[in-house]
Subunit: 227 residues, 2 copies
């Protein structure tokens, strides 16, 4: 069974959950782990993040797309360069992506972005029951999350698709130019571009820059190479 | 602005809300008012429905797709024939459709189904801000609701589409045979067919049998002819 849910209200129970927040939380998690961070701890509030400050830990994230006061890094994946984060633990709090993670009740949880699309598809190949959990934007539909979900469903080539997976696959198939679709029609992308984050939108819609699949273990995303 | 939301968690604030539950609540509301019912009162619980019993009122709806004990009619639109309901007030409680209505905080609320598609599109022509509120199935994606939303968005021919509206339009455009898509891929349709309600699925995916637009006034859907 493969399903796609958008900004779910209630707990999502499944075997394998794939959390998707293309702009920008899961793109940042994938980039951080690919560039040598030892782990990413998603937390819900700014207070929780600040409480975790100690040696070797970077406090990161955004509210209203901007880095909160006292934080080391924002939520732009382009900030997460090797020289800044190698060997460090990242504590991350964001408006949508890290909030949706606490709705997930799964045996395993991984993080997906366009940046690690092929690696995620490979990882999912032998899984029985998969739910792609799109973070959405403030509880509403996110076009870019649904597009990535559709790309994953398409590549899994399975017949046991639930409603959301079927719709996401058809939507993905209908899009000729992924970057163009996101830049022109995603309200979140348009907002980020207006705030000066056009490079982030460009980066986050690029496929297969990394082979890392972030896997959540005891509340920490750690890197797994699946390709 | 035109947006589509699926099984929303939080209140939906807008000018014009269009509630969609193709299988079967809004199809039933449209059919009842088209066949002469004087009004349809959506209520959340079976108890609320039964408390409203008095002369000239029919208590109607479903739980697990079946008519609850003590109810006059179930949730099959095919039951709502002229001779049974003409001049009567219908009190309706269903699992998804009547639940989502209480999330809506709009200046006006109308009910849409394939049965009154053209009438709804005509009604919406001069509205500024429209949110199509899909009921979904137990909080999850409903393919048939999203397909109707896409059909409405497509016909509105507007440029100011939010993410959900853009995706719904593209999904609708990708579907060649609507009835086939719903029967083959909607989990709710498949469940209804397995329970013996295939005629309902056939009926609820038929376009433009009626010209009635149900408009919610003081908690009661009353009929408005827009064509």
């Amino acid at each position: 069974m493969v399903e796609v849910v958008m900004a779910p209200c209630s707990p999502v129970e499944c075997e394998t959950a794939v959390v998707i927040d293309v702009l920008r939380a899961t793109s940042t998690i994938v980039t951080a782990l690919s560039n040598g961070a030892s782990g990413v701890i998603p937390v819900k509030t700014i207070e929780e993040a600040l409480e975790k400050r100690k040696e070797g830990v970077l406090i990161c994230g955004e509210r209203n797309a901007q880095r909160p006061e006292g934080f080391d890094l924002g939520n732009s994946p382009l900030e997460y360069r090797k020289e800044k984060i190698s060997g460090k633990t990242i504590v991350l709090t964001t408006t949508n992506g890290t909030q949706v993670i606490e709705k997930i009740r799964s045996e395993e949880t991984v993080a997906a972005s366009f940046l690690n699309l092929s690696a995620v598809v490979e990882y999912l190949k032998n899984k029985e029951s998969i739910v792609l959990v799109c973070a959405g934007t403030n509880g509403r539909f996110s076009l870019e999350d649904f597009l990535l979900a559709g790309a994953i469903v398409k590549r899994l080539k399975r017949d046991d698709l639930e409603d959301g997976a079927q719709v996401a696959k058809r939507y993905f198939e209908s899009v000729k130019n992924k970057k163009e679709e996101v830049k022109r029609h995603s309200s979140h992308a348009k907002r980020l571009i207006s705030l000066g984050f056009e490079d982030d939108v460009e980066f986050c819609t690029t496929e297969d820059l990394f082979k890392t699949v972030p896997v959540l273990v005891n509340g920490v995303f750690i890197p797994k190479e699946s390709l």
